[in-house]
Subunit: 260 residues, 2 copies
Amino acid sequence: MLIGYMYHASKMARGKEQSEAEFLAEYDATVFERPSVAVDIVLLTTHEGSLRAPLLRRADHPFRDHWSLPGAFVGIEESLERAAARALAQKLGLEHVFLEQLFSFGDPRRDPRTRVISVSYYALVDHARLEPHLTTRADLELACVDVPWEGETGGAVELRSPEGGKLDVAFDHEDIVGMAVKRIRGKLDYTPIGFQLLPDEFTLRQLQGVHETVLGRPLNKDSFRRRMLASGLLEATGERQRDVGHRPAELYRFSKRSAV
Amino acid sequence: MLIGYMYHASKMARGKEQSEAEFLAEYDATVFERPSVAVDIVLLTTHEGSLRAPLLRRADHPFRDHWSLPGAFVGIEESLERAAARALAQKLGLEHVFLEQLFSFGDPRRDPRTRVISVSYYALVDHARLEPHLTTRADLELACVDVPWEGETGGAVELRSPEGGKLDVAFDHEDIVGMAVKRIRGKLDYTPIGFQLLPDEFTLRQLQGVHETVLGRPLNKDSFRRRMLASGLLEATGERQRDVGHRPAELYRFSKRSAV
DNA sequence: TGAATAGTGTCTATAAGACAATATCCC
DNA sequence: GGGATATTGTCTTATAGACACTATTCA
């Protein structure tokens, strides 16, 4: 059914002189057909030189046995951000990770069941924090993100199992992951999000590796170093690496003072 | 009513062996309470050195006589982008303007009537195209955007009538406009959106003026010139200004070829 | 001719890329 | 000592800001 150029119920009160309180008491919110609203989360991490994101195997129709992003329907009294955090906690057991809204996908046919608008989020986490939650679950795969474009061109990406096989992905979730990659590539240079993909203490080389993995291209070591140290976002811990088979690098941490 | 950690209806089919077609035929989309979804549009333009956005005076509760962004509820068979374009056409009479999704605002209490999630868009248009639609409407005001922060810090802005008085703004629409300003400030330098705020043919000085208005700070003439000409996005028309009381500047147009 | 802004040329400061030299750890 | 990577220093090149100068129109 197409409800094309509809007017909202509030128009019905026109003419009558009501107070706002009276208006709200009489307001009937059920007049128009409403879409469902869900959140879907692209949880990105880096591992062995590639970007990864956990996907869940769908047990039910539609897209049964296809892989989908962790998500949840938004509760009627729940904020979007809370719904996203809840989905991460329920589906992956993760809390307190960097989480930011990405884009809302609203094509009327994107879900064959009914109209579902997906407010997508992206999250960033150090692989070491994610790993304990990945074991012993056949319905969870840490997919490798295969980006077929350069820079911030954008578009859908391919998702592969760590063994290399292409995964069948449900809904428009390949577009959503593509949008997430495009977004963090754009933000990497001028916001401190690279740190979110590393443990609290890290070396400059590790940070460069993360940037290279996200951007999908090698970076110049010298200028990366200079830029990072000049940014004022890094704080030397005074510690160094141990047992590394070569000269140990200094450890840094993200200086939150500078984020103010 | 709080439907907290709900599960979606698809779970109910678990166990039974159905085909996807059977599943969809039986699917009941009305089980859970759903939010309303609306679009709100920040239509930005520049005029006399300030950023402006049209606001409509609300005739009905809630927020009667407050000023709000043009918007519409999303039809059940209508894409988000189409709903946004429709709102622009219906409320302001404008078609074929640059339009891009901004952010989704979903605080459960942002609308006192019922749960309304707003998928916001920003649009850009040359003031000359907007002006004909502004006349003879007391319920429409081209508000001046007063940005109390620098760069891309972000946050709510103040909206003033062209005469300078602060406007009472409905809902969270000051946050939405603030987000729009933050977004275009960020995109101005590396995407060709400045052109959207000018007529088809314009001088470099006019383009610089637009950039200065958007960014809220003066720019260096020489390097702005160099950057723009080096970007390859501009195409000289061969024409020049007329009747300007000083040396007429060359007219340029946005070269769409380079956008490929 | 003068006012006003357009457009050009040059110098300097800053940041990025390239490359070389030295430092420090483990084996 | 040898292997490996970290760290520092220097040179070159590209870009942005500053400033001076010339050009072109209308009044």
